[in-house]
């Protein structure tokens, strides 16, 4: 141990030992990344699949949505990934993510729309809104989000797509207007996006 103690005092020992530790930890990280890569991908696919079927009525699609994707450039230039649902080979709807700026960061909503542009369902899948106030947009807390089902750009008419405080038809919550406003805006933008690209989605490859 005394030779080690002597070595430890040398200047070159410091960078060398640090380098060896860094190499070993990098190796450990690379190895565990390799080992967990497939597992994480499968788990994420399962999560995605679970959220996709939530916004479609049961039995609506007879295909595997995860394998029927297409990408369309959205309004802000970012590509939107759409999962198309089919019945006997014909596209009868699509599921995709939209987001709106909430009180604390983006509120991400996943929506399902049928071929005529009617909303089949919407679920908030990610948000950082205030617990107890803004989180009523979650289905686990209140049924508010189900109020979108069956709505489309014509019913209610476009100018009524807002919370009641802004002259629209959707409820806001006591103490939280910004959050539901963000969700309404996000869902509406999703419907508009679908309407703008309807042809492409229904018939495109």
């Amino acid at each position: 141990m005394s030779t080690l103690a002597l070595w430890r005092e040398k200047l070159s020992y410091q960078p060398l030992s640090l380098g060896i530790i860094a190499m070993l930890t990098s190796g450990a990280l690379a190895l565990s990344n390799q080992l967990t890569h497939d597992g994480i991908r499968q788990a994420e696919q399962r999560d995605l699949q679970a959220s996709l079927v939530q916004v479609l009525p049961e039995g609506f699609a007879d295909n595997e949505l995860l394998k029927d994707t297409m990408e369309i450039a959205g309004g802000d230039g970012k590509a939107v990934t759409l999962y198309r649902s089919r019945q006997a080979g014909k596209v009868n709807g699509a599921v995709f993510q939209v987001s709106g700026r909430g009180y604390a960061g983006d509120v991400v909503v996943i929506i399902g729309i049928d071929a005529r542009g009617t909303l089949l369902g919407a679920r908030v899948i990610k948000h950082q809104e205030t617990p107890g106030l803004g989180d009523k947009i979650e289905l686990a807390k209140t049924k508010w989000i189900r109020g979108f089902e069956g709505q489309s750009l014509t019913s209610p008419p476009a100018e009524k797509w807002a919370v009641k405080k802004d002259g629209g038809v959707f409820d806001q919550f006591a103490g939280a207007t910004i959050t539901p406003r963000a969700v309404v805006k996000a869902v509406k933008s999703g419907l508009e996006f679908f309407a703008a690209h309807r042809q492409e989605i229904l018939e495109g490859k």
């Binding site: 005092e9 020992y13 030992s17 640090l18 450990a28 990280l29 967990t36 617990p131």
Partner: protein, 225 residues
């Protein structure tokens, strides 16, 4: 080395939260319910035990000049590996704890134990120290979480079955049905409030115990965040 004393120090005398005042960031952030506190505590315990073990085994090779970067690299690696493993193989648990796992890297208590204990003691003693400190941390977080949850939402251990499996569903109790809830208890200020009250209670208890037994208080370590 008195192993029982090491465990007792971790659980009570030098409790990470109540005596050393370390790891305040996760303490405030995740103790909105008993289940969250328990989950964070257990995950931290696992990392503490592994980190103490590795650092203690390497203690003769790491020179004092570079010890801090070495510890940080090791702890960050360990946390990342735990994060990936949970995500891949215990995905349901990961969905509950996912946000908290990465927070363990910045938990001062892990680096603190590496520096104060594992770098100076043998592997077995260090593992026990990690276990004791981790369980003490778990105890503190669960306690704060339960108090905030009870007053804030009127439940105890809600969603415990997500964390521990369906067999633990019996832990989930609704103490006050149809209870409107006190929002403030779920929001950050109540974390400070409850911690302060618990600290005062512990001080009071120890002062009474020491005045009757005439034993001095354990030295307080400086807080780092």
């Amino acid at each position: 080395m008195d192993y029982r004393q090491i465990l007792k120090d971790g659980l009570w005398n030098q409790n990470v939260v109540f005596s050393q005042m370390l790891g305040m960031c996760p303490t405030m952030a995740v103790t909105t319910s008993g289940t969250n506190g328990l989950g964070m505590g257990l995950a931290t315990t696992a990392v503490l035990v592994c980190a103490n073990m590795i650092i203690s085994a390497l203690r003769n090779f790491v020179s004092p000049q570079v010890r801090i970067p070495v510890y940080i690299v090791l702890i960050a690696t360990l946390v990342t590996v735990v994060d990936m493993a949970l995500n891949a193989w215990m995905h349901d648990l990961y969905r509950v704890l996912g946000l908290f796992i990465a927070l363990i890297v910045v938990n001062c208590a892990v680096l603190g134990r590496a520096e104060a204990f594992a770098s100076r003691h043998g592997v077995l003693a260090s593992v026990l120290d990690g276990l004791g400190m981790g369980l003490g941390f778990t105890l503190a977080l669960t306690l704060i979480g339960l108090i905030r949850e009870l007053i804030g939402a009127g439940t105890l251990f809600s969603q415990a079955s997500l964390l521990l499996g369906a067999n633990f569903a019996f832990l989930e109790t609704t103490v006050l049905p149809n209870y409107g809830g006190v929002l403030m208890m779920i929001l950050p200020p109540a974390g400070f409030l409850v911690l302060g009250l618990l600290l005062a209670a512990k001080q009071h208890y120890e002062r009474r115990a020491s005045s009757s037994a005439a034993i001095g208080q354990p030295a307080e370590a400086a807080a780092c965040h």
